[in-house]
Amino acid sequence: MNHPEIWMLAAAGLFGLGLYSLIIARHLLRQLIAIKIMGSAVFLVLVVTAGLVDGSLDGIAQALVLTGIVIAVAAIAFALALVVSLAETTGSISLNPDDDDGR
């Protein structure tokens, strides 16, 4: 943890990468993976900044990251289930940008 900048840069890179592919991807699975990558970046930041407070390992931050990962897993699982049933009912696995008015 002597060079937090490196970790922060890595996190920023991951976050940007995820955001980029979330925006350009059409396939829902790709979009979910992008979100997952962004999530990893956030957890990385959480661990690194927690280390900055007093230079030692912080139990609370570890606990937070663990909780965060659990929630992320649950959310992604839910999203996957939703995508699967969307694919079953509509036969499509991407969102058409034109249908958002719901007419």
Partner: protein
């Protein structure tokens, strides 16, 4: 005793949700009743306590912050908890007609419904930034689960889009939380408030959290997911989405800007948020004017009405706080009534396309009447809760010479009149042909009466604002006269 009552608000619905999952058949009704009915009692008692104490804080299981988790009930969260309870009960009554707990769709519906109201209470009681993230996530997931409970394709598409954006928003929020924690070493919002510095890192954290929450709150221009989701959800779900789910995200933005960063003096940021609100009001209303489906009109109306909540930032002051909070409350009641009435039209007439609804007032007078009554509050006309909120907002805007905000509030009211009377005009028009409806059953009457009850509550809010506003005033963090 206080701790138990607070725990009751959160645990009772959540435990009932689990019970509703495992209990067979009719026993599920029991779980539903046991999960919702104790809430108003607990809250009534807590409100009494709050009136004496002014603020209730409880360290869960005895661990104080920063290590432990603190629950905190102030005037603002109390008002929102009340709204949540009223919506959960009354809209739940409406839902009971369509989702009998002993049937399959009821089995899908009720656990999520109970979980949603429990999670919402937990969110409103949380004083911990990370806890807020967890509860907000639970609220979102439960809400999206409810959205697809009927498995309609449009609702599913809307749900997937909502979910993707909501997850994105959560990540932004969590990133901000990480920065706050890194700087302050605490997650407790009220402890961090004194420590977090308005430097680059602090500002970045605030902006990240705000952006994340604005996505969930569907504030213009991040509202894209809302109309499809609210317009295609089942009736009771639309009601709770518009009345509560988006509101709690705005509530969190308030908490961040007024409590966490209350003394930062960032007028540019406040004005910026206000401008977003103003654009939301105008854009949402204009969109509502051109929609062809009643539920979509009501959904875009929500986009517009959420804008008023953002006007708290530029108008910053006790009266503005009371006004916007009261707007939140009365809009919640009125909008729930509107969505339920629209859902009744949709269910019984088979369509909510405006063109097919001519003369609906003959066949379903009660629901059309409900739409009109709820409309009075949305328009901000007297006598209604919406009027009190609008009056107070205008009063403080005028006192500050904020003519831009005065103009926005008034234009918003006029545009709301335009889109609501457009609907009413069609509903009251002479129909070309008017086939008789089948005689309405008990369930239909119940659903209509519930909607009417909510609309009447929104009007009644216009007569007794004093105790609510007094309760809100106790929560105001920044002090001083407006």
């Amino acid at each position: 005793m206080v701790a138990e009552a607070l725990a009751c608000l959160v645990l009772v619905p959540v435990v009932a949700a689990c019970l509703a999952l495992v209990l067979p058949g009719r026993w599920r009704w029991l779980a539903v009743a046991a999960g919702l009915l104790p809430l108003p009692l607990a809250m009534a008692w807590l409100t009494g306590e709050l009136g004496r104490e002014g603020l209730i804080t409880v360290a869960v299981a005895g661990f104080e912050a920063p290590l432990g988790i603190v629950w905190r009930l102030d005037g603002l969260s109390a008002v929102l908890v009340w709204l949540n309870i009223i919506i959960a009960l009354l809209v739940g009554l409406h839902a009971a007609a369509h989702y009998p707990a002993d049937k399959l769709n009821g089995f899908r519906f009720w656990p999520l419904w109970l979980l949603l109201s429990g999670a919402m209470n937990a969110l409103l009681l949380s004083a911990d930034l990370f806890n807020l993230f967890v509860t907000l996530e639970l609220v979102t997931l439960a809400a999206i689960g409810l959205l697809v409970v009927d498995r309609k394709p449009q609702a599913m598409r809307a749900a997937v889009r909502y979910l993707l954006l909501a997850l994105l928003g959560s990540l932004f929020y969590l990133l901000g939380v990480a920065l706050v924690y890194g700087q302050t070493g605490t997650l407790d919002l009220y402890q961090a408030a004194g420590v977090l510095q308005p430097d680059l890192l602090g500002h970045t954290a605030l902006v990240l959290m705000t952006v994340g929450l604005l996505v969930k709150a569907a504030i213009f221009p991040l509202h894209g997911w809302l109309p499809a989701a609210h317009g295609n959800a089942p009736g009771p779900v639309s009601a709770v989405l518009s009345a509560m789910v988006v509101k709690v995200a705005v509530y969190l933005v308030w908490r961040l800007w007024l409590w966490l960063a209350g003394d930062w003096a960032i007028p540019a940021g406040l004005t910026m948020l206000g401008l977003l609100g103003a654009l939301a009001i105008v854009y949402g209303s204009l969109q509502a004017l051109v929609q062809q489906r009643v539920k979509m009109i009501v959904a875009y109306s929500t986009v517009a009405q959420l804008g008023y909540l953002m006007l708290l930032f530029p108008l910053l002051g006790l009266v503005a706080f009371q006004a916007t909070s009261y707007h939140l409350l009365s809009h919640g009641l009125a909008k729930a009534a509107m969505f339920l009435a629209a859902a009744n039209l949709l269910t019984r007439l088979g369509t909510d396309q405006l063109g097919d609804l001519r003369g609906a007032d003959r066949r379903m007078p009660l629901d059309v009447f409900t739409l009109a009554l709820a409309g009075v509050s949305i328009l901000g006309l007297p006598p209604s809760g919406g009027f009190i909120a609008k009056w107070l907002m205008l009063q403080t805007a005028l006192a500050q010479g904020g003519w831009l905000w005065v103009g926005v509030i008034l234009v918003g009211g006029l545009l709301a009149a335009a889109y609501l009377f457009r609907v009413l005009a069609v509903l009251c028009a002479r129909p070309v042909a008017c086939p008789e409806l089948p005689v309405s059953g008990k369930a239909d009457q119940l659903t209509s009466l519930v909607a009417l009850g909510l609309a009447l509550a929104a009007l009644a809010a216009g007569f007794v604002p004093a105790p609510v506003l007094k309760l809100l005033a106790t929560a105001w963090p920044l002090g001083g006269a407006p």
